[in-house]
């Protein structure tokens, strides 16, 4: 698990079956398939039969665990080509889910964060959700000026695709927006950009 000095960055858990739950929903993306497979391996047959799995094969690092996921006897397995579609799929599943459901999320920070927004909108609390980070720590960045969300940002300074401003990525994560904050990089002195660097991905 990555340890940084960023206090606002979520502290992630390790996926493990929550025995008090009666229904289980597990959503993962790319490298998040690995913790998901470990979770399913720890479940007993009754828990597996009460588990809905959602998996997106979109991956920054190119890892795909779909073949192994298909070996588990879960209640449902839904596969999505993109993370955005998987998050919409999660919304559909949670819309009819009942109290007693437990949610497991794994994958990139952006995927976990946007999935968590959906869970929160249905009133799920932290004691019903486990989140495990997997793969790269590329950042999802929200532009403070035009509101555009940029996925998979790896550099300290980049150009916002929404408003074409040069943005500096601040080490401040917003759980509500599920993104780091990007602000105009040369706001103080026009043309004077801060030093670019590789983010802690």
């Amino acid at each position: 698990m990555l340890i940084t000095g960023i206090k606002s960055r979520p502290v992630y858990d390790e996926l493990t079956p929550m025995a008090s739950g009666l229904r289980h929903v597990a959503a993962a993306q790319g490298s998040g398939g690995e913790p998901l497979l470990r979770l399913l391996g720890e479940m007993d047959p009754a828990q597996l039969a009460a588990t809905t799995v959602l998996y997106s094969i979109e991956s920054f690092t190119g890892r795909n665990h779909l073949a192994d996921l298909k070996k588990h006897q879960v209640r449902d397995l839904f596969v999505f080509p993109t993370n955005a579609e998987a998050v919409r799929g999660l919304d559909t599943v949670l819309a009819t889910a009942q109290m007693g459901t437990r949610l497991y999320l794994s994958g990139s920070e952006g995927f976990i964060g946007t999935s968590m927004q959906v869970a929160t909108s249905y009133g799920m609390n932290r004691d019903e959700v486990l989140r495990e980070h997997a793969g790269s720590f590329v950042r999802r960045v929200w532009c403070a000026h035009c509101g555009h969300y940029s996925e998979n940002v790896t550099r300290r300074v980049f150009q916002c695709p929404g408003c074409e401003r040069n943005l500096v990525v601040r080490d401040h994560y917003s759980g509500r927006l599920a993104a780091f904050q990007g602000v105009k990089a040369d706001g103080e002195v026009p043309g004077e950009l801060p030093e670019d660097e590789e983010l802690d991905t």
Partner: protein, 323 residues
């Protein structure tokens, strides 16, 4: 707004109504006609009831509207055995009397993020829910109430709420033979449902057990037991180091209340051991602290260097606080 004297407000009894054979409703306003401190739905106060040569400190939920601070209303069920504070309320208190009442504290607030609020109550346990429903109906929250009573003659409060909120209120035991079944009420609820239960210990435990069996997590289960409120136990004395004052804590009051009665101002917020505001350093101790809060960690309790005066007590020959 009303002045607090020794931790209590001076309130005049404006009206006493008998609502059931055992329950009286009391309406209070400030003796000097000023506005009362505001409160949120689920709050309680403690009424200092003169009883023979002593004072009973009974906790009662506020049932009037949180949006009207010209008055407070409580309902008191008469219990003939025990410490008889409620009996004194019924027998001795008259309209026009002035009583000391503590400022409201809330250990039973409604969740701000719930998608649906499910209230379950038994008998006089419905009183905090009165104010909670008023708060939700003004703020616009989805709710329902399931209330169990012991018979038609005990159903007046339930009928009042039914008149206000219609189908959202179900009263069990009002002569139709219906019985409240908490498992049935809790089953099949959508995500984001919160339940609130107030009533006798058996009912509270029954709802908590049913919710757990259905896979509900703690953050969605809220309860208030009749016997929970307040800090009672053996008397002890405590020294406040800054003034050197020695405070005698009686069996009926908390350390915080005893200090306030003696004219000392200690910090507080929730008055229920939850918020941490009253955390106080223990300078000397000969004996043991009876930690009753939900604030200090297990290791902090063991060191006995900190105490929460709003709920915790001590069995000691000496206790000196940095206060």
């Amino acid at each position: 707004m009303s002045e607090v004297q020794h931790g209590a407000l001076r309130l005049k009894v404006d009206r006493i109504e008998a609502v059931t054979p055992e329950i009286n409703r009391y309406t209070f306003s400030a003796e000097d006609g000023s506005w009362l401190p505001p409160f949120s739905g689920g709050s309680h106060v403690r009424v200092l009831i003169p009883f023979e040569e002593e004072t009973r400190r009974n906790a009662y939920s506020l049932m009037s509207s949180p949006y009207d601070t010209s008055k407070y209303q409580i309902a008191v069920r008469r219990i003939d055995e025990g410490k008889r504070g409620s009996l004194a309320m019924h027998r001795n208190v008259r309209e026009g009397d002035v009583l000391l009442v503590t400022t409201p504290a809330n250990l039973f607030p409604v969740s701000k993020h719930a998608r649906h609020h499910l209230f379950i109550a038994g008998g006089v346990g419905v009183t905090p829910i009165y104010a909670q429903l008023e708060e939700l109906s003004v703020k616009g929250g989805s709710f329902e109430l399931h209330l169990a009573v012991r018979g038609p003659e005990h159903a007046a409060l339930g009928r009042e709420l039914k008149a206000l909120y219609g189908d959202r209120v179900t009263v069990y035991g009002d002569g139709d033979g219906s019985r409240l079944n908490s498992s049935e009420i809790l089953a099949g609820r959508p995500l984001g449902t919160h339940t609130y239960v107030c009533g006798p210990a058996r009912m509270v435990n029954d709802v908590i057990d049913a919710a757990h069996a259905l896979g509900w997590t703690e953050s969605h289960i809220h309860y208030e037991r009749f016997e929970d409120l307040g800090s009672t136990g053996s008397p002890f004395s405590v020294t406040l180091a800054r003034s050197g004052a020695v405070i005698e804590v009686s069996p009926e009051q908390s350390l915080l209340e005893a200090a306030e009665e003696a004219g000392h101002k200690l910090p507080y917020l929730c008055r229920g051991g939850a918020c941490g505001e009253c955390e106080t350093e223990v300078l000397e101790l000969e004996g043991t602290i009876d930690h009753r809060d939900d604030w200090l960690s297990e290791s902090e309790r063991c060191t006995n260097k900190l105490i929460m005066p709003c709920v915790s007590r001590a069995t000691c020959t000496k206790l000196v606080l940095n206060a």
